[in-house]
Amino acid sequence: MSVELDVFVGNTTIMDKEVYQLWLNGYTVNDAVKVRIEGGIMEECEASAEVLLSDTMDQYRTFQMCERLLHHPAKLANQLLFQIPPDRQAMLIERYYAFDDAFVREVLGKKLSKGTKKDLDDVSAKTGIMLKSCRRQFDNFKRVFKVVEELKGPLVENIRQHFLLPDQLARDYAAIVFFANNRFETGKKKLQYLTFHDFAFCAGQLINHWTVGAVDNMMDDMDVDLDKEFLQDLKDLKILITDKDLLDQHKSLVCTALRGKTNVFNEMEANFKNLSRSLVNIAAKLINAKDVRDFFIDLVEKFIEPCRSDKWTSIDVNLYLIHYTNSVHILDTFKHHGVWNRYMGVIKSCILRMYHE
């Protein structure tokens, strides 16, 4: 004796948020039922395990039917098959496109290719996130990437419009797309301490200041790529380290400003040339795609780690970078103030964000 068929269809589609989350997390129907039972819903609603199973199956089926619409959220609003109130639609979309920080950290900056998808079982094992959920998240990244790649105009806005995502989520996706496009290295051991939100913040900085769209959003080009011209110009900054006078002058200006304001003044003074060289070298190399990938690892290795080993506080770093940036403008022979500011503004905020004491 068995229930052969069991369906429930409402004129307004009924969706349980909790079950939706379990479905998104990749639970099987039976596991989801277990979780719900543990949650105490049976006592609360006087329901039996049988009822829960039937309900869970039904909801899962509904979600599966909705899934193809969720791939194109704009369709959800004018499809006729399911009558879903707008607030519910927004919830469905938002949760469908939500991702786990642990997961995104693993694939951030990787090529969103079939190869990467094949490795998802490793990611799943490492993060403890179910493979099904990993696949959904990965496919979401890829889908957003594919759609946005071709579009003109501001990246965040494009994502928000095409996928009807809330602002913060759209920004996060922009970061993911940006990282995937530029293939930034984020997986190295030395970078492990950085969270997704650290990277997302940096991506935001880069998108807002270093892309073509940042300067001129009328441009046909998109937000996804760095401004080649700017990268070219960055090479001019080399003068700051190649011109011995300029370097010394710069150092003395910074040291004068910093003296007595920090506990690590001696270390700052001693390391000035090294640090300055590192930052300018990073800038100069960015024209090569390969070095762009290493941008974050370079920042950590060449700047953040030395400072940290000298026990700088964030305040120290901030102070140092402020003066380091500003002093350049006093240098008579230096001509590239615009490029310098555009470069250092981003570098400063990235470093500060990435500098965990």
Binding site: M1, L5, N11, C45, E46, D58, M65, N78, Q83
Partner: protein, 1050 residues
């Protein structure tokens, strides 16, 4: 004179990819009506084609207009091979043929394919230029309005209820024609769909002709069914009630009462008690000066205070002083009444069948209810040889109807209400069933000739109990029943229980709440063929019915109730079993005696453990009754002191009984004594059937807190609905793997299946608590040998919690406002108000009104004589009516759309709407409900009937998610298509929705499944009462146009 049908194909969207190479589609559209076909251009390489075609014009007979559906086929152009069909849209243009319904069909409609389901949408515009035909010999009946609603539709008034109309059309089923062997499943399905569309069009036209013949202009309670008889053919049959309806115009409606007092969105807290307040004119004729005078004589509240002090017995015998035109009521009405009844009777007897498919009625229509009458017959199907002469089927039904008629007569009744017919087919055996409620009707609506206002008060009995009074001769009772004097008016005899198929009359006096009561039964039968099979089934039927009846009775008593409404008994036949499912809503009618207890008795007294066992059972049952009484608030009002001398002394004893019920079993003897002459319902436990009965009684699990359920339109005791409604359909198929089951085992399985289904529903809908599942409609079927299929359609409606506790004073403010806008219901209003607050209140502002009622203490707490309320408050009613009048004057048709759902009034706004949908911005929200109303909203326009039939088939069942996935998708698709068609007509809701057929067949081995669904309902425009309120100040041009529309019927 022919009509001209005009069609414009605007655009498509979300089309499927038909060309794998380009991932695109080259779509064009084929528009076909009758034998004429037009084509659009091919719109190349797009999934969102913009055809923007010219207007395709079809010049056709109005007969064809009624019969034929407009068929739109979307195809993919292919240069080298045949064009591939993407899908079809069938459009029923009937709503456009009636001047009062829709004027244009415009919107996005899903493109449907029987194999692939919905494949994108198409935007079309359809109009009809129709020239009304004056030819007396015409075959068309354009202009006759059809309603699925089984009461007088909201914005109409019944001038005349003509009576029963029926028609039947037969044809060969394309699925069983020889050609089916060589054509594709798709072609076969489409042939079937089209045929059924055609047949239902024809059926509707023929019924319309009958209505015109009778002099009516509408069919209410239109019920159309299909009998898929397999080899022997396809029968489409319909029944309905012919009426002459008149649109209630905005201006006159304030003084004339709404004919349907069934309107359940009434906002009073209790059903109406007491005398028909004289202020409410029963007649629906045009307002006369006399009526106005009647009104004005009410304002001095003097006469009421006098009346309200009198007992109800006196009341009904005293000619009413303030009655104006109706003053002749009372004792003098006796002979008159008899005469009138005779007249009515003869008027009805002239008709072939005095049947009415309505389930709720205008006031004054229903006088007395006799009880349920039903008839069944088992027939052997044979091939219909000549489709043009469906005599056999006609004769079958005629037989059954005659039987029903004679049953009704035996009950002393001249009419049958809430009449319905159904069939169950298994192989070549067919069970035809018909049932209804025998009743005596008032003369007003059924008699021709001018209405004489003097007869208005012919019925002396108060409406709150009048319908319970027996219509048959006391000395000549057609069946064993215990009669007592009415517990309400104490003057007429009432039966101890009352079963009916109609809805609870709104004016009925009810104690507590109602609840769904189901009797379920499963009986095995031997496999047999032909005649033998038919005989076996007919032999089983009476037992089945008897047992169902017993079960119903037991369950009713277990809930401490004394009447059933909306009773529907479905018997379904399979090869090896018969299923019986009876559903009804149990109610405690104040007028009827309290039900007797259920007592268990062992036949042969034996040892102590056995006695113990019995007393345990007894205690369990008593506890359940007590619990149920509490749950449903069944506390019959105590009878006032002066009543002691009356012939029925039970109430006091009863109260004692109640108390002792919960105590231990050693009081049983004493209980028995106190029970006196009350019939204790004795179940003898020696009887194995009884054990089973008891088992069945106690296995019904209680509803979770916050839930109520009923299968009628409204739940007695709950009125304060929120606007949250959720219509749903749930289907379950259960496989019995064990072939050798006993009756008992089967019963349990079947009962559990239904119970579990209900439990699942409660769980699913838990977010709507406090909530009531209304119009719970169960359908059972035996699709295959070992399968049982149960389908449920219902609507879950939330209500305001406070109301469940104490009549919802807290929300009084809101409800009052509602009530005022819906002035049709002032009648029911009175209870909110009491004598103290009545005459002096200013009618200046709604706020003032609500304040008063808000401060008014609960009407429920003391055991008051409710009947006087009505009179005390009638001056109030008048105030409210005035109020309503002012609001009504410029109301009803409003555009304001707080939610996108509210549709624009047609005409000027239609174009707006089509623009809106054209741009594809958002989808109109369409509510669906099996009820005839939308809570908290006013239906402003009926757009026409929706009657759709779909077939879906798959040969990749697993890939589509198995049987559940397949059916889930299909039902969702059907809902979507219904919603889209309602929206295209300009509506925002479908009321009186029903899924009349849901056939599901599978063949998992072949990975195949097929399903057929037939749905129907009335497309309407509703406006939220809050919006009405907000916009009612400025008069709208639409409203006046509405008025002018009102007159032209046919």
């Amino acid at each position: 004179m022919p009509g001209k049908l005009k069609v414009k194909i605007v655009a498509g969207r979300h089309l499927p990819v038909m060309d794998r190479a380009s991932d695109l589609t080259d779509a064009f559209v084929d528009v076909k009506f009758g034998n004429t076909t037009f084509k659009t251009d091919v719109y190349p390489k797009s999934l969102n084609p913009q055809w923007n075609s010219e207007w395709f014009k079809f010049e056709v007979d109005d007969e064809d207009l009624q019969d034929e559906p407009l068929q739109i086929t979307v195809l993919d152009h292919d240069t080298y091979s045949a064009n591939d069909a993407i899908g079809k849209v069938y459009i029923d243009i009937d709503p456009l043929l009636c001047s009062e319904a829709a004027t244009v069909i415009s919107g996005w409609l899903p493109i449907y394919d029987t194999i692939h389901g919905i494949r994108g949408e198409i935007n079309v515009l359809v109009k009809v230029d129709f020239f009304n035909d004056l030819n007396r010999f015409r075959q068309s009946s354009c202009g006759v309005k059809f309603f699925c609603t089984t009461s007088i539709p909201r914005c109409y008034r019944a001038v005349m209820v003509h009576g029963f109309v029926e028609e039947l059309v037969v044809n060969e089923d394309p699925e069983y024609q020889w050609i089916d062997r060589i054509r594709t499943p798709r072609a076969s399905n489409e042939a079937r769909q089209r045929l059924i569309f055609l047949m239902s069009g024809e059926l509707q036209r023929k019924i319309g002709l009958k209505v015109l013949e009778m002099g009516g202009n509408a069919v209410v309670g239109y019920l159309q069914c299909f009998d898929l008889e397999g080899e022997s053919g396809l029968v489409v049959r319909a029944i309905g009630t012919a009426c002459t309806l008149e649109k209630i115009s905005t201006l006159t409606s304030a003084s004339a009462t709404h004919p349907s007092n069934s309107s359940p969105s009434k906002d009073m807290k209790e059903p109406v008690f007491g005398e028909e307040a004289p202020g409410i004119p029963l007649s629906s004729g045009p307002p006369t000066p006399l009526r106005v005078q009647t009104f004005s004589s009410f304002s001095p509240s003097k006469s009421y205070s006098r009346q309200s002090s009198s007992s109800d017995t006196e009341l009904s015998l005293t000619p009413k002083t303030g009655m104006g035109s109706g003053g002749s009521a009372g004792k003098e009405a006796g002979p008159l009444k008899a005469l009138l009844r005779q007249q009515t009777q003869s008027a009805l007897e002239q008709r072939e069948y005095p049947f009415f498919t309505l389930t709720s009625f205008p006031p004054g229509f229903l006088l007395h209810v006799g009880g349920v009458v039903s008839a069944r017959s088992v027939k052997l199907l044979d091939r219909i040889h000549n489709p043009d002469e469906p005599e056999t089927r006609d004769a079958w039904w005629e037989e059954i109807r005659q039987e029903i008629k004679s049953h009704a007569k035996a009950l002393g009744c001249h009419a049958v209400l809430g009449y319905s017919e159904s069939t169950s087919i298994c192989e070549e055996v067919c069970i035809l069933s018909a049932s209804g409620t025998a009743a005596i009707l008032g003369s007003r609506f059924v008699q021709d000739g001018p209405l004489d206002t003097d007869y208005r008060f012919e019925e002396v009995a108060p409406p709150g109990c009048g319908f319970c009074h027996i219509p048959y001769d006391e000395l000549n009772i057609p069946f064993p029943a215990q009669l007592t004097y009415c517990y309400y008016c104490r003057r007429f005899k009432v039966p101890d229980v009352l079963f009916t198929t109609i809805d609870l009359p709104t004016e009925a006096n009810v104690t507590g709440k109602g609840c769904l009561i189901q009797a379920r039964l499963c009986r095995t039968k031997k496999k047999a063929q032909g005649e033998g099979n038919a005989t076996a089934i007919s032999n089983l039927l009476p037992f089945l019915e008897y047992e169902l009846h017993t079960q119903l009775m037991n369950k009713l008593k277990l809930r401490g109730m004394n009447s059933l409404f909306g009773l529907r008994i479905q018997i379904s036949v399979g090869e090896t079993m018969l299923l019986g499912l009876a559903s009804a809503t149990g109610v405690y009618l104040t007028a009827l005696p309290s039900p007797g207890r259920i007592q268990i008795a062992g036949k042969t007294p034996s040892d102590i453990t056995y006695e113990q066992h019995i007393s345990n059972m007894q205690k369990k049952i008593n506890d359940t009754i007590a619990k149920n009484k509490e749950l449903y608030e069944v506390n019959p009002p105590e009878v006032v002191e002066e009543m002691i001398g009356s012939p029925i002394p039970e109430p006091r004893q009863r109260s004692r009984l109640l108390r002792s019920h919960s105590e231990s079993s050693d009081e049983v003897t004493e209980l028995d004594l106190s029970h006196g002459k009350k019939d204790a319902f004795v179940l003898e436990i020696d009887d194995t059937d009884a054990v089973e009965d008891i088992h069945a009684l106690l296995t019904d699990s209680p509803m979770p807190p916050g839930f109520y359920s009923c299968n009628t339109e409204i739940m007695p005791g709950i009125q304060n609905w929120t606007s949250a409604i959720q219509m749903f359909t749930s289907v379950r198929v259960f496989r019995l793997n064990n072939a050798n089951l006993t009756n008992q085992g089967l019963n349990k399985i079947f009962s559990d299946l239904c119970e579990n289904l209900l439990k699942s529903l409660y769980f699913k809908l838990r977010s709507m608590i406090p909530c009531c599942l209304c119009h719970l409609n169960f359908t059972v079927a035996v699709p295959e040998d070992e399968l049982i299929q149960v389908a449920v359609t219902a609507v879950a409606m939330s209500f305001y919690k406070d109301q469940t506790l104490e009549n919802g004073r807290q929300s009084g403010d809101k409800t009052l406002i509602k009530a005022i806008t819906e002035n049709d219901e002032q009648l029911q209003f009175n209870l909110e108000l009491n004598a103290e607050s009545s005459s002096s209140n200013p009618l200046s502002s709604t706020k003032g009104l609500s304040d008063v009622s808000g401060s008014h203490p609960s009407a429920r707490a003391p055991p008051v004589d409710y009947s006087s309320f009505a009179d005390r408050c009638s001056s109030w009613i008048e105030q409210l009516r005035l109020k309503a009048h002012t609001i009504r004057r410029g109301s009803v048709k409003t555009t304001s759309s707080l939610e996108k759902a509210s549709p624009l009034p047609e005409g000027r706004s239609r174009s707006l709407q089509s623009n809106r949908s054209y741009s594809g911005s958002s989808v109109t929200v369409v509510k669906m409900t099996p009820l005839s109303f939308i809570p908290g909203a006013k239906i402003t326009k009926y757009l026409g009937i929706i009657n759709m039939f779909f077939i879906r088939e798959t040969s990749s069942l697993r890939e589509e998610g198995g049987v559940s996935g397949f059916l889930h998708t299909f039902i969702a698709e059907v809902f979507a298509m219904v919603r889209a068609h309602v929206a295209a007509l300009g509506g925002n809701a479908l009321v009186s929705y029903s899924m009349k057929e849901c056939v599901f067949m599978e063949n998992p081995n072949k990975n195949q499944a097929q399903s057929l669904i037939n749905v129907s309902g009335d497309a309407v425009i509703f406006v939220r009462e809050s919006e009405l309120e907000a916009t009612s100040v400025q008069p709208q041009s639409a409203a006046t146009r509405e008025t002018s529309n009102g007159g032209d019927g046919t």
